[in-house]
């Protein structure tokens, strides 16, 4: 068993707003192994992006990490000084964001911004920084990298900007790359190219990837393991094949049933999850999914389920689980 590249333990990140305390991330734990591709899926407001930002201590006021540990090479990122975090940020753990246009500085050339990322962590002669920037742009398959390195972001297309962001993320050969909805703003054909690029980088450089997305299809094409988040919690976790084939949490199951699939010939009604995600200032009692769950039992209303083992390497936070919910002979209690 290899040592995890990153361990998140009971992470709680809260936002102290005028209306009350938003429990955005509420007790999230997971391990990321070297070279692994981990998907974190969930809807807006489920805490997936805040989890990612917490790992790099990028959560902004009024948000704060109030509990938990984030262990990287044995050190806890939560308790590090700002200087120590800055050492890791962009060097060992890099992050790319959804919207490449607003993450790039419009008045600086793409090359300058990549060089900046390199020079933030190493003293290198500017000639070398430039040639490294060109090399990185080639690696992310920007055509004519030698000349495009001097372009400004607006001269790049959306897909090229995201490639440039990835190049910047890779500048210091990080062991972990966190990609927050990297393809959401892109067209499908460009999305396919970016996913292929991330897959190759993972295989060639052995960079571990945390992919944050709401798109189940994107997870299926890139990740080996998945965390499903709902209302600030991990509700299910496991290998990608298990999660897609035998999801045990009703939320995961419903989510998979609610998306129209290109490969199904049936024109059936989609399953819809009634209601909408809860207010995280006053989350529901018991299981947070219970107001929307069609399989709930009495226990779900007051007793909050922890993550429990439900299959090989698979955990779900549910008292019922889909195995029992779909069992024909009324094995369900309650």
């Amino acid at each position: 068993m290899t040592q995890p590249a990153l361990q998140v333990k009971d992470l709680k990140t809260q936002f102290f707003t005028d209306d009350g305390v938003v429990q955005a991330v509420d007790g999230v734990s997971f391990d990321l192994h070297p070279g692994e591709t981990l998907g974190i899926v969930g809807e807006s407001g489920c805490g997936k992006s805040v989890t990612a930002l917490s790992i790099l201590r990028l959560v902004q006021e009024p948000g704060r990490i109030v509990n938990g540990q984030i262990l990287f090479r044995g050190d806890d990122i939560v308790t590090m000084s700002d200087e120590e975090v800055r050492e890791i940020r962009g060097k060992d753990i890099a992050m790319i964001f959804q919207d490449p246009l607003s993450s790039l500085n419009p008045v600086l050339t793409v090359g300058f911004q990549i060089e900046e990322a390199i020079e933030a962590h190493r003293k290198v002669p500017s000639k070398m920084a430039l040639s490294r920037a060109v090399e990185l742009l080639k690696q992310v398959r920007i055509p004519a990298a030698e000349s495009r390195v001097h372009d400004y972001p607006h001269q790049f297309s959306g897909g090229m900007r995201q490639r440039a962001m990835i190049a910047m993320g890779l500048a210091n050969s990080p062991s972990i790359l966190i990609a927050d909805e990297p393809t959401t703003a892109l067209d499908v054909t460009v999305q396919a190219q970016i996913l292929e690029l991330l897959r190759d980088l993972n295989q060639d450089l052995n960079t571990a990837i945390i992919l944050i997305t709401h798109n189940m299809g994107v997870v299926a094409s890139l990740c080996t393991r998945v965390l499903v988040m709902y209302a600030g919690r991990v509700v299910e976790e496991g290998p990608v094949e298990r999660i897609f084939k035998e999801p045990q949490h009703p939320y995961t199951w419903s989510l998979l049933q609610s998306i129209p699939r290109l490969d199904s010939d049936r024109h059936d009604r989609l399953l819809s999850i009634e209601g909408f995600p809860p207010d995280l200032i006053r989350p529901p009692h018991g299981c947070r999914f219970n107001p929307r769950c069609q399989f709930k039992i009495d226990r779900c209303l007051h007793d909050d389920p922890p993550l429990m083992n439900v299959g090989p390497d698979q955990d779900a936070a549910c008292w019922v689980t889909m195995r029992r919910a779909l069992a024909p002979n009324g094995e369900r209690r309650g």
Binding site: A192, E196, H214, M216, V240, I259, P260, H267
Partner: protein, 328 residues
């Protein structure tokens, strides 16, 4: 299908936008299409392909540069003023962004009542009753009429937008990316609602989206657009099983299927390069610069392939449509 008269027919519709220095963006180029009563036609393509512009031309929110749009046999492009306004009742639109498409200073009741007032249809209690009825139809509490848009979630706002579109009992609704701003679990609610409403009120939809899996689910027929042109039209199951245009094929293969086992076996038809500029589109077939099966320079770069019948109810604009590989 051949005997039926289309509800809407577009003939050689062109839309150019001025782009300065005498240049123009050729957003929609020579598009002809028919939409039959009661059907849902999906219109897909990537950003910048002209699909939203085409939707706006059809609803008369934008004037055509040339071409004709017949609705119930009447050429809308020839109508002006009050005559055109009366036709607008029949053509309504649902927008992508449920935030910017609702006036934040108006109550939900006023938003839904506005079309009724514009056409002087109902007043006083009758109007209020109709608003409450519309709220109920789209699955909202009828007593929400005094609330403001900011009090609602994205999915609820989209329902308000749908109620507004239904207020005038239109025949055709153009829905421009109606679910792409919504969360996954909410998307299914809105798709199901739109399907229910279609049956209840005999609506005809033009459903514009970039997500081919959603479009395929809701549509009877699908049209694929590339750089201002329709490149393929077919029945929604047929287009997936048997795409006849290499662009459709590439688009289909790029959509990830939420199943890791199937996904790992699929081959993605990677397209070379980027979408060319619509200011200066490529000669001949507009797709030839990125096409994996193009024969250059003749005929693909110097002749334009017509949108022609390739099979029953299946048209594609490609010289080599028989060479397009079959689905996954």
């Amino acid at each position: 299908m051949a005997e039926r008269t289309p509800l809407l027919r577009a003939e050689k519709v062109v839309k150019h936008f001025p782009a300065g220095l005498g240049a123009s963006v050729k957003a929609v180029e020579n598009v002809s299409l028919e939409i039959y009563p009661g059907e849902t036609v999906g219109l897909v393509g990537e950003s910048g392909c002209g699909k939203s512009t085409l939707g706006r031309l059809i609803t008369q929110l934008l004037p055509v540069t040339s071409g004709n749009i017949f609705f119930d046999g009447v050429d809308l492009t020839k109508l002006r003023g009050e005559k055109l306004r009366q036709y607008r009742r029949q053509l309504q639109m649902i927008f992508q962004d449920p935030y910017s498409s609702l006036n934040p200073r108006m109550t939900v009741g006023d938003i839904i009542a506005e079309p009724l007032e514009n056409f002087g249809l109902l007043r006083g209690r009758a109007k209020d009753q109709r608003v409450q009825e519309l709220l109920k139809i789209v699955g909202l509490n009828p007593y929400f009429n005094n609330r403001y848009p900011h009090e609602f979630s994205g999915g609820q706002r989209q329902r308000i937008g749908i109620a507004r579109a239904l207020a005038l009992r239109p025949k055709l609704i153009v829905a421009d990316e109606p679910i792409s701003a919504l969360d996954v679990s909410i998307q299914a609610q809105i798709i199901n609602l739109m399907e229910d409403l279609q049956h209840e009120f005999q609506l005809t939809y033009l459903f514009i989206a970039h997500d081919l899996s959603v479009v395929r689910h809701i549509s009877d027929r699908v049209m694929v657009m590339y750089l201002g042109k329709i490149v393929e039209v077919a029945d929604s199951i047929e287009i997936y099983r048997n795409p006849r245009h290499p662009y459709t094929k590439a688009l289909l293969s790029a959509i990830p299927i939420p199943d890791p086992e199937i996904q790992s076996k699929r081959r993605i038809v990677a397209l070379a390069g980027e979408i060319p500029s619509p200011v200066n589109p490529p000669s001949g077939c507009r797709f030839h610069t990125r096409c994996p099966i193009a024969q250059l320079p003749t005929p693909c770069a110097d002749q334009e392939p017509p949108l022609e019948q390739k099979a029953r109810d299946h048209r594609a604009a490609c010289f080599f449509s028989e060479k397009v590989p079959v689905a996954v």
